[in-house]
Symmetry: C2
Subunit: 299 residues, 2 copies
């Protein structure tokens, strides 16, 4: 089955202590869509300006991403610029030019409205709602978010939670949402807000799932060099949803492996700027790291 | 086989945002010895003053810890007092009274000199050297440390590393020692300083082993409530060494499970002040959590 993915489609200018890369393909939906594409067909919902480089359209197409839901509007593509500190853990935004993204309203082509697997990648909760409003009974809906929406659109986000099966957020966002320091207590509170599955991302420390069938501690693939962590979280959730959409059997049976696959795609994402590394790998590269992670965690 | 453990034996006065507990049994050797005692006989090397409460001697004895290497000197027992912040991650020292610890020189009874498994728990590197100097060909030596020794006794510590099989330190200490932000790069540098096995402790994120047989990502047991993390790292390495000392077969075959056992004992340690919780558990409680961790990490 295919995955419908909505989120931001952007140009990212990224600075790290050792390099600078302007106007790379970025945005939560781009990272998630490419990650998912290794496992299942992807339908992308987003918006770009008429300045959007053709090479990035080709990139999407090489990954067989269905672009019939990608709007091309008069104006500039969303442009984000950020800088990472030496340890790659902290970043600061240098510039945000919303461009055509400012007035984005996602419209679903009829062919998209019955998608079974839906990923509401990081984007304003109001737009995440708007996508769900247009859909007919999806089988499994996952939503990601960021601290910005907790700050400026908390009500919309809280209203979204009962509408999603799986909510994905990082540890500091979980703290911000629940005021709990302990992530396992925070997760309990988040379950009460709606989602059956809650996943807490912890960057290089991996992630944790809480589900009806219990918890799962998902490892991160050990990396000796991180070039650019931008999009790693989006790659994680994208890879997970792509895997889930094609795996046979119930979600509960597949979600652990799905997270490991997502984690591996995220590891590749970190090894290059933007999507530079992710777009160069093959499914066999992913399988190799999944096997390695299996060995790395066995006792 | 038994484990010889040298380290600090202290009275800890611990303050958290919700409670205050004066003069609990503490010190790296106390925590490590009790943790190891669940798996193998323990020989303790340390010093206390003549004010050392009899109830703590009884506690050691209940855990069948051999006290023939515990010196009782005229004067006060080492007393440490510290306070934890709300999130339990940061602590500050309120008071350090070294007492008899100031002039401590570990003397090994003859019966101890041929011990096969030696844990140099956190204590001045000069004293860790002094213990090794008295020993005849131990089979496996592990050493722990703390930031203080990296600050004031770095040369002694660096000279110790070629003398130990396994070096255990936390992520910030690894950074301090190697100036590397990436722990997997840091670990490579530490191997070059001597130890065949390097273990990086990451608190609630678990730990990572680097060994001749590859890496191992060791999970932490998920805790919804941490009462007092003091001694968790000592419990981890103590439990690990206790398990290794009785497990059959080569170290490489056993060290992963040993770390998981250590991790579980550390989880119990965190659930009570000082040794309050650890001293109340049974081997069956440990086995239950090890089985749980197996399930929590499988995919």
């Amino acid at each position: 089955m295919s995955v419908l993915i909505v989120g931001s489609t952007a140009l990212d200018s990224i600075k790290t202590p050792t390099a600078e890369n302007p106007r790379l393909l970025g945005g939560s939906a781009s990272h998630a869509a490419v990650a998912a594409s290794f496992f299942s067909p992807v339908k992308l919902i987003g918006v770009v300006g008429d300045d959007f480089p053709k090479k990035y359209v080709s990139l999407y197409k090489r990954h067989k991403i269905d672009l019939s839901g990608l709007q091309i509007e008069k104006g500039k593509t969303f442009h984000w610029s950020g800088e990472y500190e030496v340890n790659m853990n902290n970043r600061r935004t240098l510039l945000t030019e919303l461009g055509v993204f400012e007035k984005f309203t996602p419209h679903l082509p009829d062919t998209h409205k019955k998608s079974s697997f839906v990923l509401l990648a990081n984007i304003a909760p109001a737009l995440q709602h708007h996508v769900l409003d247009q859909m007919t009974r999806p089988k499994f809906v996952a939503a990601d978010t960021m601290d910005l929406w907790l700050n400026i659109a908390l009500d919309d986000l809280v209203r979204l939670l009962p509408r999603v099966d799986c909510f994905v957020l990082n540890d500091s966002e979980a703290h911000q949402l629940t005021k709990e320091d302990n992530i396992f207590v925070a997760v309990k509170k988040i379950h009460k807000m709606g989602p059956k599955y809650v996943i807490i991302k912890k960057g290089s420390h991996g992630s944790v799932l809480s589900s009806p069938k219990g918890q799962f501690i998902c490892p991160a693939y050990p990396l000796q060099k991180v070039s650019d962590p931008t999009g790693a979280g989006d790659s994680f959730v994208g890879g997970m949803m792509g895997y889930l959409a094609t795996a046979r059997g119930p979600i509960d049976k597949n979600i652990r492996r799905a997270m490991v696959y997502g984690s591996v795609v995220a590891s590749f994402c970190c090894e290059g700027f933007g999507l530079n590394r992710t777009t160069k790998i093959k499914r066999t590269d992913i399988e190799r790291r999944v096997t390695e992670l299996k060995h790395l965690t066995q006792f």
